[in-house]
């Protein structure tokens, strides 16, 4: 990998001084960072969801329940490791490994910060980088899905297979939207190397000019990681646990680990491509000539942004319900992919006009704004279509037939239920019992207006 990064010039990060022990330190640091982050992420998720549901969440083991996920991991380790009889042995064992190993690969190209001095060696806080680093991330994600798919298939059981099939369809469709939303970043940054993309966001972070792409990425990253509201491959209401139904003990834990590492991965990609990577947010970045954009400080900003996305994941999980499968596919194919395509074409046209006609971006935008304004003015000149007059509502509460549609419906504003026959009879009986000769009074409740 060292020679690779030497050979390619358009990568901003300078790896020229790296030695083998520097790589070893970085690689081990990344793995340790990911594993501890997963432990914290599980605790974080449970705690935040608990807050959203007005309950305390894990609070017994350790301060604030911090050791809860450690205890859970220990429990998973010592549980009985079962291999189901109908399973395809080799694939069954290999599948969780594929999932975890592929999820560990992504962080190799994520920049945590600029060049720092590490034991006297000037090296960037990034394991490696090359001109197609973001494509490499997509490739790792694509291979990682084989873990889910093969795990579901090899279990030799119906629900896991259904989960696997769903996951295949889901990942293929959402990877398209995801890739397309990243293309506009490549166009503006002029590179697919992560360090170069971070450098290109010195002036403005890409999520502002590329807001539609950012939104599409956020939606498809949730779909890509099988998280609520898109967790259809493991929808426990429909498929027990989907592809991991037949897994137990450590093999199950590996799938679990892979899912959380993938969350960290897509969050890191979103941070790097749209939120300026390790760059300090605006007011802080101006302090003392960009002091906070140098040295080890950027790690802090990077982690803050990363955990912001992790919070968004939990936030979405706590507030949105699971989609139905057909709705989910409809969003992917009929909304996200066309929108992403249109956006890429728009960005391509603007960038092309800027580069090849020598026009300034500002004048291009002014022309576009002018076209929009002219269109708006013209739309005002088109006479409005006459609305048919709304049917006049007769005054006073209306008695309606609640069984008109076949089953009872509650009254709308201005409607009242017809007097209840049961109530009438009850009152009649009461009157008879009390030996009164007056007729029962039926009061009509008026709902709403």
């Amino acid at each position: 990998m060292r020679i690779l990064t030497e050979a390619v010039a358009p990568v901003t990060a300078d790896f020229s001084e790296d030695t083998w022990w520097i790589w070893l330190i970085k690689a081990v640091a990344i793995v340790v960072f990911l594993l501890t982050s997963v432990l914290i992420a599980i605790w974080f998720e449970r705690k935040v969801v608990a807050r959203m549901q007005v309950r305390p969440g894990p609070n017994v083991h350790g301060p604030f329940g911090l050791l809860q996920s450690l205890a859970d991991a220990m429990k998973l380790l010592v549980k009985e490791d079962m291999t189901v009889k109908a399973a395809d042995k080799l694939v069954y064992i290999v599948a969780p490994m594929i999932a975890v190993f592929c999820s560990l690969l992504t962080f190799a190209v994520i920049p945590f910060g600029p060049n720092v001095s590490m034991f006297g060696v000037n090296t960037p806080l990034q394991l490696t980088d090359f001109p197609v680093a973001v494509l490499y991330i997509l490739a790792c994600a694509a291979v990682g899905v084989y873990g889910i798919v093969l795990g579901g298939w090899s279990s030799g059981s119906t629900y896991p297979l259904l989960g696997a099939v769903r996951s295949t369809a889901q990942v293929i469709s959402y990877e398209l939207a995801m890739g397309l939303s990243l293309v506009s970043v490549f166009i503006l940054a002029g590179s697919m190397s992560t360090s170069q993309i971070v450098t290109s966001q010195t002036a403005v972070w890409w999520f502002l000019p590329l807001l539609p792409a950012f939104v599409i990425y956020i939606i498809s990253m949730v779909g890509e990681t099988n998280r609520l509201p898109f967790d259809l491959p493991e929808a426990e209401g429909e498929l027990v646990s989907g592809y991991m139904t037949e897994y137990s003990s450590m093999k199950f834990a590996w799938f679990f680990l892979a899912e959380y590492i993938n969350m960290l991965n897509v969050s890191a990609v979103a941070t790097t491509l749209f939120l300026g990577g390790w760059r300090a947010p605006w007011p802080i970045s101006t302090i003392n000539d960009g002091m906070f954009n140098e040295g080890w400080w950027p790690v802090l900003w990077f982690l803050a942004k990363l955990w912001f996305f992790m919070f968004v994941f939990v936030w979405i999980r706590g507030s949105v319900l699971r989609f139905r499968y057909d709705q989910f596919m409809k969003i992917g194919w009929k909304l996200l992919i066309p929108a992403a395509l249109v956006w890429v074409v728009a960005v391509g046209v603007v960038q092309g006009v800027r580069q090849f006609s020598g026009l300034e971006l500002r004048s291009v935008l002014f022309v576009l704004a002018g076209i929009v304004v002219v269109g708006l003015v013209i739309s005002f000149l088109i006479p409005e279509k006459k609305q048919p007059p709304a049917p006049k509502r007769p005054p006073g509460p209306q008695v309606y037939d609640p069984y008109a549609g076949g089953y009872p419906v509650p009254p709308l504003p201005g409607q009242v239920l017809p007097p209840s026959p049961r109530k009438q009879r009850a009152e009649a009986a009461a009157a008879a019992a009390a030996d009164q000769s007056t007729t029962p009074q039926v009061t009509q409740e008026v709902h709403g207006g």
């Binding site: 050979a7 994600a141 084989y146 798919v149 093969l150 298939w153 030799g156 099939v165 009850a426 009986a429």
Partner: protein, 314 residues
């Protein structure tokens, strides 16, 4: 890794690292390719192809074609083989190839043709002379994707567009061929719900079998709010086998209980509050019969203590 080929430019020799990489990946690829031919299950064959593809990607990257290597994984492994697996899974988890010969003598002809191809390949490869290897240099190494873009969108732009048009045509053709005119109106969620209500059957999920105060056995039917056993709540298998418990027995007990309760309440009112007692009894009767399966608008709501008593007597 990709610098291996760069070193080639300077020395004219491949490095040891490249040789090591090749001799590790080579046997793996050959084994996987043979596996494609000899494994029994279709999914295993697909896995073998994936191994070959990923190993190929490694070799591409080692030869300075970083872009090609990564795209190989994204497109072929990530999309094409994934679709293959998708279809294989839908076709059947355990379906294996049929070994019946559909065309007579097909196997022998295939074998002969295979041997012929092998002979030709061995002959060509054996007689080929290898020129001095040379690696990439200059722009192609410095920025691989840019170099590829220049070639595709400059030199071969027409061919590229033709291929693109061909692929779009193929996709459209698949759409047209698989399209079916809808002859009947679409039955959606609302239509299904309406139909279910219109049949007048049960709308809610079935209760679990068992009467929890005294039984929780699978063969004991659950009791509805009206005290009547719900036969459907017992699993269908048990009903078909005739292993269902006698529903009447449990129903009768409930009826007796209810009768006893209404006797106490209806006929012996506490002297202190006669009005409340007489009001309570019809309420109980109405609630008991009204919340049954038929909805609130049934004709049974005229229950009074005496009506309930009659039913009990049956």
């Amino acid at each position: 890794m990709s610098g291996l080929a760069t070193a080639l430019v300077e020395t004219g020799e491949t490095t040891t690292a490249e040789a090591v990489l090749f001799w590790i990946l080579g046997p793996i690829m050959v084994l996987a390719a043979l596996g494609l031919l000899f494994v029994k299950k279709a999914v295993h064959a697909a896995l073998a192809v994936i191994v070959v593809m990923i190993s190929l990607a490694f070799l591409y990257v080692a030869q300075d074609a970083v872009f090609l290597g990564v795209v190989q994984v994204v497109v072929y492994t990530g999309a094409v083989m994934m679709l293959f697996l998708f279809v294989l899974m839908l076709v059947g988890v355990d379906s294996s190839d049929s070994l019946v010969e559909t065309i007579r003598g097909q196997r022998w002809i295939g074998l002969l043709a295979g041997i012929g191809l092998g002979a030709v390949l061995v002959g060509v490869v054996g007689r080929a002379t290898y020129g001095k290897p040379y690696g990439l240099s200059g722009e192609a190494v410095d920025n691989n994707p840019t170099g590829v873009a220049h070639i595709i969108f400059g030199q071969y732009v027409f061919a590229f567009e033709v291929v693109g048009a061909l692929l779009v045509t193929a996709a459209l053709g698949a759409l047209v061929l698989t399209h079916r005119q809808r002859l009947t109106p679409r039955v959606g969620q609302k239509e299904r719900a309406d139909a279910r209500v219109a049949t007048g059957g049960r709308l809610t999920p079935l209760p679990a079998p068992g009467v929890y105060a005294r039984h929780n056995a699978m063969d004991v039917p659950a009791l509805g709010p009206d005290g009547q056993p719900i036969e459907d709540s017992v699993p269908r298998v048990l009903r078909v086998r005739g292993q269902e418990a006698d529903a009447e027995e449990f129903a009768a007990r409930t009826e007796r209980m209810l009768a006893g309760a209404s006797q106490v309440r209806g006929n012996v009112p506490p002297p202190a509050a006669p009005e409340r007692a007489s009001l309570n009894a019809p309420d109980l009767g109405a609630a008991v019969s009204d919340t049954g399966q038929n909805g609130p608008s049934t004709g049974r709501s005229a229950d009074s203590p005496s009506a309930l008593g009659q039913e009990d007597g049956k």
